[in-house]
Symmetry: C2
Subunit: 263 residues, 2 copies
Amino acid sequence: MLLIKAGGGRAINLTGLAADLASLTEPFVLLHGANAKRDDLAARLGIEVKRLVSVSGVASVESDDDLIDLMMMSYAGLQNKRIVELLQIRGVNAVGLCGLDGGLVRGRRNQGIRVRRGEKTLIVRDRSGKGEAVNGSLLRLLIDNGYAPVVTVPILDETNRAVNTENDDLLPLFQGEIGAETVVLLLEEKGFLRDGSDPGSFVPQMNRDDLEQWEKTATGRIKRKLRGIQKLLEAGVPRVIIADGRVDHPLAEALAGQGTVIQ
Amino acid sequence: MLLIKAGGGRAINLTGLAADLASLTEPFVLLHGANAKRDDLAARLGIEVKRLVSVSGVASVESDDDLIDLMMMSYAGLQNKRIVELLQIRGVNAVGLCGLDGGLVRGRRNQGIRVRRGEKTLIVRDRSGKGEAVNGSLLRLLIDNGYAPVVTVPILDETNRAVNTENDDLLPLFQGEIGAETVVLLLEEKGFLRDGSDPGSFVPQMNRDDLEQWEKTATGRIKRKLRGIQKLLEAGVPRVIIADGRVDHPLAEALAGQGTVIQ
């Protein structure tokens, strides 16, 4: 079993990924983003995608009702169904789902994000949340019957309404249900960069000790990434590969050891 | 088992429909349109939804690649996931699918539509098609495990690419797989009107003989509708109800006999 996360950046080679997935001999679950499609659509619709930065420095998108509509159109609609089509063309019987479908991902709406606005600290409560449980029985039902789940946001909150969440945060929940031997994260970078802005800081290999050490001193986005990988290892993944989603065969190259291998 | 088709008009009461579906004691499959959302989105994006009228007088939408994107956003994305949310809020474990997902609806791309352009007759070949087979095993897998399928276009063509089709034409294919006792069609009209423009021509009841008689003399859209109902009866539905989707409880009122009852 493989768990793959494809970032939603413009340069991710979804056609190459679909070809790689079609040549796998084992089952997989694909989680995907669609931020480039979301931002394109927002720009064309004249909707401003508002960014929030919490007082602790975590950046996110302000998920109001318009943004949830936008997520449904771009993530659960366009990106999800075009990926399903790419897979169907290659003979993979993909089923596209968002976290709402069959209660696939249930969670809790955020109480509010503390943000600075000029001199003041405000609490912004939007339609974002955190996943808490993945419906493993639905995943197994599909996989056992030859279907390949292709999954994206939004997810359900505690009142069964749609909330936005970070795909990365869902990975450990999926892993807990499917027990993949390898988790592959496909990004618009060569792999893990110790300094996000410097391609020269690419790390070919990491072990648990490196991860723990580096997480202590890292900040911002890199700290968050390292914490995410730690959570995946805690969820029992033997191997995590962070690899370049822009190449001709993103998944095949990742599995051949290109990228950052963590075990 | 119930098969319900909800039109995609602006005035269809989806919240009321979700409430009615939540109080059903039998399983159901819901097929839905989203033409109002598609047209709104097209207008906001500045995409022209081109209409085609065949030489035989059948009107359709020209389904180019932009239109398929638009369908994925509005039908398979926004409308499908908002309906799933309305059902999840009410405790129905809905799974939203389009015809691509799990090869739910496979068909054939149209060879071309003959249209008049001024003095000339042209063949326009777009990305539209006709459904030929519904994946009944996927529907049964979901229904038998407590999930409620909520289905919309696009569907797969013979090369497994996305094509647009008429939801109405899919109903007999779904009926062939699930064997519903009743098929309910929810429209923005009181029921079946013998003269589409005259609400006074509402028909409360029809039998097979009426249907056959009327179909011979009808033209255009009404002929097409009558033909659609005939095909449903041929697919073995004991009862078809055409009812008003704009009322407080569209499905409950339909099942109570409001609308046009055909048996």
